[in-house]
């Protein structure tokens, strides 16, 4: 029989850095979950992405057990990372001169496909490119579709 869900908790936590402070502590602790166990598991599962902000959806069940899904980082964060790598310079520069290629847009779109509300890779790429422009990041080159 399916377990009864008592709460869904949506957080964004840095990889390898979950700790029992707020908001993890109060959000899970009040439901009777063993927070220490959540932190140990989250940190072990995100060892390869230390310091990256990762969205996580935690399902807490009526019997105080839990499970959770870790998603890939949001599009905006992935775009920032790509531009940072590219300019490799001070922060102020990064924001003024940032641009990404369509290949980079595709890479992010492929990574985020499962989480985006898109049916085709092209529509996912359009969403990523739209986010980039709104952020002041230029998408350089010919649109490949």
């Amino acid at each position: 029989m399916a377990k009864v869900v008592s709460a869904l908790v949506k957080l964004q936590i840095k990889g390898g850095a979950a700790n029992p402070s707020p908001p993890v502590g109060p959000a899970l602790g009040a439901k009777g979950v063993n927070i220490m166990e959540f932190c140990k598991q989250f940190n072990a599962r995100t060892q390869d992405k230390p310091g990256k902000v990762l969205p996580v959806v935690i399902t807490v069940y009526a019997d105080k057990s839990f499970d959770f899904i870790i998603k890939t980082p949001p599009v905006a964060i992935q775009l920032l990372e790509v531009t940072k790598l590219k300019s490799g310079s001070a922060e102020s520069n990064r924001k003024k001169v940032a641009s990404v290629s369509w290949d980079q847009v595709r890479t992010i779109a492929e990574d985020k496909m499962p989480d985006l509300n898109a049916f085709t890779i092209e529509s996912a790429m359009s969403m990523v490119a739209g986010t980039a422009r709104s952020m002041g990041i230029t998408v350089s080159g010919e649109r490949p579709y």
């Binding site: 979950a18 402070s21 908001p23 927070i35 140990k40 964060i77």
Partner: protein, 284 residues
């Protein structure tokens, strides 16, 4: 070593975000200035930072670029440190490891007549109650090891449970170390609860441990930290000394740990698994 003991600030952000990405941008910016965790809300998000790391000028600088383009505001609340885990800690079940060890809380009846070994733990937001696979596996290893008369280091001691078990198994001298002050005081309290008087509890990371010549090192932490500590573990062990590590998975982590250990001539002996979690033993 799982716990950070300090007051936190909660910044409640209200974001005008029709397209849904402004929130992510702000979170990305905040993550670069010591904000460590975020919670989604209907009107924006909440961002969390240890109170002593908060710098409002740095925050305004970091967000200045977006303040021109987007509409958002925030309010600051302070959240005092407390034991967030107390609901779970107030009614957890005791744990038994094989037929030898019973781990219970102060509020459970003693079963010292049924089990040769009994440990009492009052966790207070420190890791290590025997419920987690890694603590269980480390305990299993300890129960099968020759501990009598040994000098033991418990690195990342949490509640102190492993040091206490090693002491009960006859270890002569024990050093329990953690980077978290909550764990250090928890270890002291739990050592008293269990009437073990040969455990020294110290605050710090591996580089702050000056002692060496250990016959046995216990480290239930995580893969990345174990890798970072490995060279020191090898230095601190006596020849023929044993290193038992946990806090990582069989797949994909165990081969990575084994490779790192081999760089320092630590020989892999064996490992136990439980739900993909591993405890592994190496010898110098």
């Amino acid at each position: 070593m799982l716990s950070i003991s300090m007051n936190y600030l909660e910044l409640v952000f209200t974001v005008n975000d029709p397209e849904g990405f402004v929130k992510d941008l702000l979170i990305a910016e905040l993550s670069e200035i010591d904000f460590d965790t975020f919670e989604d809300t209907d009107k924006g998000f909440k961002a969390y930072i240890p109170a002593d790391k908060f710098d409002e000028t740095a925050l305004k600088d970091q967000l200045a670029h977006y303040a021109e383009q987007f509409r958002f505001s925030y309010a600051i609340n302070e959240i005092p440190q407390k034991n967030w885990n107390e609901v779970w800690e107030s009614n957890f079940e005791p744990v038994t490891v094989g037929d030898k060890l019973h781990i219970r809380a102060t509020f459970h009846p003693s079963k010292s007549d049924e089990f040769p070994l009994e440990i009492v733990i009052d966790p207070k937001m420190a890791f290590g109650t025997g419920h987690h696979e890694t603590t269980y596996l480390m305990s299993e290893f300890l129960l099968q090891s020759e501990v009598e008369g040994k000098k033991v280091l418990d690195m990342g001691c949490g509640s102190g449970i492993l040091a206490i078990l090693a002491s009960k198994l006859g270890a002569e001298e024990l050093l329990a170390v953690d980077i978290d002050p909550v764990c250090v005081s928890s270890t002291v309290e739990n050592a008293q609860l269990n009437e073990t008087d040969n455990i020294t509890s110290e605050l710090g990371d591996i580089d702050e441990v000056n002692d060496s010549g250990f016959d046995l090192i216990l480290a239930n932490i995580n893969r990345n930290i174990l890798i970072r500590h490995m060279a020191r573990y090898a230095e601190m062990l006596e020849d023929e000394g044993e290193l038992i590590m946990s806090g990582f998975y069989e797949v994909p982590d165990l081969p990575i740990i084994q490779e790192e250990a081999s760089k320092y001539d630590l020989k892999y002996i064996s490992h136990y698994t439980r739900n993909n979690w591993v405890a592994a033993k190496f010898v110098k």
